[in-house]
């Protein structure tokens, strides 16, 4: 990233001003055209369909270009319950997204496990991936989603493009289980990919 590292090393008045200007312009672009990847697993996903449909129309906030490829999206929207069975999939999707990337936990299930406190549901996705905005509600109303989106936009506004994205990411929940490994590809599948 040429321009970013250029400014990171410069000091002085002009550099600071220019730095701010570029920062603002880039962030303005980022915040006003978020491309969401709806990781919709449950009831909240149905409500997210209401968000994009014409009555509520998320296009007003510049986030209507729903992408189903993590490579093309910069906003991961986890809408619905994440079970232990689904956890490796979610982690994999998140890792596949390119920086800069943000995460909204849509609904209490994603944020904390919700009222499914049991053997099969992950008690909050922030045990697996960092979350920028937590959106409570079961399901949240579409208006509440817009509130979360605006909160995320505000947050993006304050980010420094000269700092590495990874340093600005929120932390995982402290009690998260660190013994848990990043999902690996099954050896049989890997052999197939390589054509062995």
């Amino acid at each position: 990233m040429g321009i970013e590292s250029f400014f990171a090393n410069k000091q002085g008045f002009v550099a600071t001003k220019l730095d701010n200007l570029i920062n603002n312009v880039v962030n303005w672009g980022r915040q006003s055209s978020l491309w969401p990847y709806p990781f919709a697993t449950a009831c909240c996903g149905i409500e997210f369909m209401g968000v994009v449909s014409n009555t509520h129309d998320v296009a007003r906030f510049g986030a209507e270009l729903v992408r189903f490829s993590p490579r093309q999206a910069d906003l991961l929207l986890v809408a619905g319950t994440i079970t232990y069975k689904m956890a490796p999939v979610l982690k994999r999707i998140y890792d596949q997204m390119l920086d800069p990337k943000w995460v909204i936990a849509f609904g209490v299930c994603a944020a904390s496990g919700g009222f499914y406190n049991n053997y099969s549901v992950v008690q909050g996705i922030d045990r697996i991936i960092p979350v920028d905005v937590y959106l409570p509600g079961c399901p949240p109303r579409p208006e509440a989603f817009f509130d979360a989106l605006i909160a995320l936009q505000e947050k993006i506004k304050g980010e420094k493009i000269t700092r590495h994205d990874r340093e600005q990411r929120p932390q995982l929940r402290p009690e998260s289980d660190t013994s848990w490994k990043v999902p690996v590809v099954d050896p049989a599948q890997r052999a197939i990919r390589r054509g062995e």
């Binding site: 990781f39 209401g50 619905g80 956890a87 406190n117 049991n118 990043v182 099954d186 049989a188």
Partner: protein, 570 residues
Amino acid sequence: MVATFDVKERLRQRFAADVLHADRAGGMESITVKKDRIVEILGFLRSEPDLAFDFLSDLGGADGMRLDWPQWRDRFQVVYHLRSMKHGRRLRIKASVPESDCRMPSVTGLWKSANWMEREVFDLFGVHFDGHPNLKRILCHHKFVGHALRKDYDIHQGQWLDETESMMDEIGEYGENPDDGGFSELVPVNIGPAHPATHGTLRLFAKLDGETVVRVSPEIGYLHRGFEKHSESGSWTMVIPYTDRLNYCSAMLNNVAWCHGVEKMLGIEVPERTQYIRVIVSELSRIIDHAVCVAAMLVDLGALTNFWYLFNLRERIYSILEELCGARLTSTYVRIGGLAYDLNEGFIDQVRAILRDIPKNVGDVIALIKKNRIFLDRTVGVGAVSKELALSYSWTGPCLRASGVAFDLRKSDPYLGYENFDFEIPTYEDGDVYSRAMIRFDEIVQSMRIIEQALDRLPSGPIFSEDKRVHLPDKDKVYGSIEGLMNHFVLVYDGIKVPKGEGYHPIEAANGELGFYTISDGSGRPYRVRCRPPCFTIYSGYSEIAAGSMIADAVPILSSFNIIAGELDR
């Protein structure tokens, strides 16, 4: 033959040594048998013309570890709910399985739907089924240790998973196609669970020959949220919010199904007004469910415009329901013995207004697709399911009716006074994707008819049963009399006390027969709750139906089933 119908006696004559116990519970004969000859017994019940229990409604398990019933001899029971399509009767057969010898014969040879249901019992209770073609876990992940629904499994004990299952065992080897002498190559392709065509929670693993699906195997359980275990840990009323989240496109119907089942166990009749209101909200939910199903299916075919049209309709019905109960999706409106609130002011006018608009809304969509060449090419004749296959997979609801069986619980086993309404059961003959889409439009029309009649005849009166076991006394009685106070205290503190016994009282939900098999030990908490989800059995037929089709057709076949993951995986 009806006069001499006595299934108990018939079974005793034939399998004297195997019948352990017989009683009548929850509106049907309930017979406990030994496990070893279960295939013969069920085969006999199925083939005798005067019994003809040819339809496997449900197959579930129960753990009697904390149950002190004398007739419950061994730890586990595998429960079969049968229905005779010919005679319209139901029957419950329970096979007793001891913990020391936790295995029994599989009935997959009799019904294809038993395949997944037995896998579920194996997964959650650990009962092995001998002769099952592919007995492995279905809802919990493949590295899960223990059996979640056993009473000694701690509800909070989660188990992390670090890699998804490869599924190679179900699909077979990668390589040359043996059928054409190695001319073409077979390629395994993983679709989902995070894929738009699989709606976020379903995973398909397919083996392709070019664009043709040679074999496909679904993996489910990505949304297994422990509904049954949760229900068994709270009071009867506390289950209602969980039912909202089963089929979250039509939460009201699930509420009605649960409360209706519990009321039957209590022997309570709800007031007439409540029945009518339940019918109205049920049918409104059915309309939403069908609209969402068709909208999602058309999106999968690339027709996005219809989605906007149908979602307008959905949004309007949601605003009506929201005014009624305060929530758009997850209503929690129905209560055991009544309803949470009476109708709000203006409800009737709003519903009447929307009934006037639905024909236009739906008509627009039909006009867009009815003569649309692309739509017809991609749906007519695709994924055709015969009557016999549909019944063997225990299909119910619109999918079964699209295959030509006019089976609808609202007509065949009426509840909530559906017998007093004038409506038809639409059926189609071909059982293809086209029929499964169009039948939903026809059902929307019938639902509108029902709502209209219900609005016209809506009686006034109370909305809650007067029965002390479910009805909180009025406030002046609570503050003014000792009985009222005690009554209130006990009901709030202990919850509703459902008498000992078991029950299964299904209703017709948007996807088909939805019922809860419940066991009460009289303690104020459900001992066992088993949900019979309509789309579980429907989806179990997918691999057979989609095999041989083009990969592009496999997607509309899937979406025409209207698989709702919350209900599928619970």
